[in-house]
Symmetry: C2
Amino acid sequence: MSGGYLKGRIRRDDIVSAAAAVYGEAGYHASSLREIAKRAGITHAGLLYHFPTKEALLAAVLERRDAEDAAREQLTAAPPGLDVLRRFIALAEHNVRHRGIVEVYSRLAAEAVSEDHPAHAYFARHYREARDSIAQSFHALAETGELRPGVDPDLAALTFIALMDGLQVQWLTTPTQVDTVGSLRLSLQTLLTVPLFPN
Amino acid sequence: MSGGYLKGRIRRDDIVSAAAAVYGEAGYHASSLREIAKRAGITHAGLLYHFPTKEALLAAVLERRDAEDAAREQLTAAPPGLDVLRRFIALAEHNVRHRGIVEVYSRLAAEAVSEDHPAHAYFARHYREARDSIAQSFHALAETGELRPGVDPDLAALTFIALMDGLQVQWLTTPTQVDTVGSLRLSLQTLLTVPLFPN
């Protein structure tokens, strides 16, 4: 790895971090590349060299978050089943210790419901993939009799992902009154015939 | 009621409707009273007569929504129990037919997680009241044996409110893939020992 390449990578990471911070504070639409460049300690022209458009920078922020989550919790590595559900709980535990990224994500998700928002396709795909991953696990649990009879695996998957998102906004608003992890554990446990976390 | 008073009321309502539309499209922070006045077909000075600040207009938008919801579903009229839960389901059914107001609400909620946002106190109070109302019903159901043993009523209330909010954002993003009402019914039913909607 050449010194110039490494320097470019670091610079790029700094810009992505600055962008995430600015999105969290002002939202994506109200942010400007000029403001983000200032925050990253780089010239406007320097930022444009790495990210020629607002949309390209937004995509980089979202992709970095996904890559970090996936690497940390190895969400896609476990076979469908209880272990996948436990990894999503671990992700929620991680998020509670990282308010900044949760704020960025919640804010962008609400902005991006419009089809013309540049992050719309990202969130549509993100929700679909998250639902599919969880649904696979619920289907596997249904086959082994670990899912409560009568529970629809696909509907349960939608419910779990929506609950994660809704808890985040409520927790950001009133942190001391919201037990995010407790709520997720309760919600999953009531769907199962076996303990989610055996003693 | 004098003609002048009535005209003032109508004008005020028009401004509140225009503000809700602009918040839904641009968010609160990126909106301006000038843009809202234009949308309402009133002069900037005319708008300032009714709403001297951005914050006053935001408060009016949120208060109108609460008043409309409460009047329609009579959320506060029923004694704690199954009927209150059914009224929240009815509210969700109503929301699915009114995308615009759901978009405004979801967007403002995500913006208002910061303590310095002018709608922060509103959302903190709104969440607390919604949780309290639902918690009272779960406590009543626990006493009659209609809540599943081992389910914490307060945690279940938090879960239900968070689920409503999370479903809204996911439904706004991918409407055809999200069964909001089905998810809420499943989630409530798994917490109960009796049918939520008897056949």
